[in-house]
Amino acid sequence: MTANKLLEVDGLKTEFKRDGGSITAVDGVNFHINKGEVLGLVGESGCGKSVTSLSIMRLLKDTPGKISGGAVRFEGSDLTKLKESDMRRIRGKDMAMIFQEPMTSLNPVLRIGKQLEEPIRLHLGYNRKKAREHAIQTLKLVGIPRAEELVDDYPHQLSGGMRQRVMIAMAMSCHPKLIIADEPTTALDVTIQAQILDLMRRLKEEKDMGMLLITHDLGVVAEMCDRVVVMYAGRVVEEASVKDLFEQPQHPYTKGLIRSVPKLRQNVRRLESISGNVPDLSRMPAGCKFAPRCPFVMEKCLSAEPDLVAVEGRTDRKSRCWLTQIDERGGETVHEYSAD
């Protein structure tokens, strides 16, 4: 299995300086992505999804954030230890990123073509003409009609869906091994979202890339992902294959989440809901971070935080909850999952 691992995030910890103190936005996150696999990363707003992805790409410059622990192994080498110049060589080449906001993620004063050519010339060493051809090719690949003309347009002349396709083309242009897509469709309309998701699925299959798909939309997860990691308050609370996750969610948060989403033609009178709010990172409860909102909270939950452990002895199924650990193992010490 290890040989198959494209990216391995191991105990990643990222802190932000804020008002004198610091908050830990990402706290010991573990997960891995295999080659050709789509890993979904879900969780509510502010739980640390974006920070995780930015930490992997080491794009925290100009923010008060800093990786303060853990390792990010990409094809075996630890990115957190690389020199900035070496990291630059990986960014955009082996590992590319698609951002949430197609409206603001493109530079408004540079032509589309120019922005696309940049990584191509940098990483593939093409001359201007060849880079341009390559850019047009890639644009066609992502289903943009009239690509030859479009390269001379400015971002504002494009619709949101088109821009997101340009972002995808940009990410694809140097044939990366891994694409990190941070909420690539959140800003788009449903019909356009359907187009983009369809496109991404196709491209992934054609190019056999690994993908980290960040979203808070369980629907998108269900349709796109092979495996899922659920985050809550900077931690991974559950990891499962997509099928398991929806059929047998383990963590109470995941359960609540799945149940509070209204589903088409479901016809319930009342929705389930998780009471309370996402905790503020600067004043986190001791013990399990979900405890204050958890319907099954126990005394232990308030004092000690459970580890992320394998469920039912399966290595691909993990949860961070005393309940599963106690229920399944009758209160015995549980086998701790370790990344290695």
């Binding site: 930015l54 790409m57 630059r88 493109l106 408004p108 004063v109 940049e118």
Partner: protein
């Protein structure tokens, strides 16, 4: 773009008209009797009155205004009350020095200001930032005439590098434009720093970094141009300040420019000159802002291509 510029140009006319009325009222509100000032201190009452009639100042104000406007539409700005010289001619010779002075001041102020702004923003909260901002704030904290006199003491009298004034060669412009540009340099430095900081927080900067671009490419190609768009606007507004500042700098450095002429003509209530000059200032200011708007469009494709 051409049509837009034309439209804007036409739009200037009513504005200038308002300005002309305001200017006219304004200068006639200022107490003082040009006839008396011109006739000299030993003049008799009769002489003064004759002068007044000759200058048409005995007419009711609205008549004076109408005849002034009539002449102006025929391209005649009249003669200086004081010297009798044609105003157009006087302005012509005074225009270039002031133009050079303001342009040079603006040029160095923008270049240095932007450089300081960028360095400060990139090195935020490190010593270059503090140094840059100290320079910048000093620029607006020193009274212009004082800076000018000190520069003369140092660079003309002590070191002999530059002349104390005049308009004899490019060297003559060095100290005056340093003096005049200091304030604007500061404004621009501060402004470009904050707009640069703002730009550096934009999503597309992160995108640029995610492509693996070198930091100087990120700053130079992606951030700079976006923040310049805002700097241009500020710089345009500063021209008004320059025109005002030129009064002082031209006095200190004996530059025969419009500013000094204006002060002179105000002290002699040389109505025709004041009027013509204030109109010119207003037109200049409006034009510059038009240029700024056009430039804004050139720099900002969103506006340039708004017609789709």
């Amino acid at each position: 773009m051409g049509r837009y510029a034309l439209q804007r140009l036409i739009g200037i006319v009513p504005l200038l008209f308002i300005v002309s009325v305001l200017v006219f009222m304004f200068i006639h509100l200022i107490p003082g009797d040009p006839a008396r000032l011109i006739a000299g201190k030993e003049a008799t009452l009769e002489e003064i009155n004759q002068t007044r009639v000759l200058l048409g100042l005995d007419q009711p104000l609205w008549k004076q205004y109408l005849s002034y406007m009539k002449d102006m539409f025929q391209g005649d700005l009249g003669n200086s009350i004081r010297s009798g010289l044609p105003v157009t001619e006087m302005m012509k010779s005074r225009f270039l020095p002031t133009l050079w002075l303001t342009l040079l001041s603006m040029a160095w102020a923008v270049v240095i200001g932007v450089v300081i702004g960028i360095v400060s923003a990139v090195k935020r909260n490190k010593w270059p930032d503090y140094a840059g901002m100290l320079i910048a704030i000093s620029g607006i904290s020193i009274p212009g005439f004082w800076l000018g006199l000190v520069l003369i003491q140092i660079f003309s009298v002590q070191l002999g590098w530059f002349p104390t004034g005049g308009i004899d060669s490019w060297k003559s412009y060095v100290l005056p434009s340093l003096t005049l540009g200091a304030g604007i340099m500061s404004m621009i430095a501060r402004f470009s720093r904050s707009s640069m900081l703002e730009t550096m927080r934009e999503d597309y900067i992160r995108t640029a970094r995610a492509k693996g671009l070198m930091e100087f490419v990120v700053v130079g190609r992606h951030a700079l141009r976006n923040s310049l768009i805002q700097v241009v606007t500020i710089a345009g507004l500063q021209f008004g300040f320059l025109l005002g500042g030129s009064v002082m700098v031209e006095t200190v450095f004996s530059i025969p420019g419009l500013g000094r002429m204006l002060v002179d003509s105000i002290s002699f209530r040389d109505y025709t000159v004041i009027q013509a000059e204030l109109l010119l200032f207003a037109a200049e200011f409006i034009l510059i802002n038009l240029v700024v708007d056009l430039l804004y469009g050139v720099l900002n494709p969103k506006i340039r291509y708004a017609d789709n």
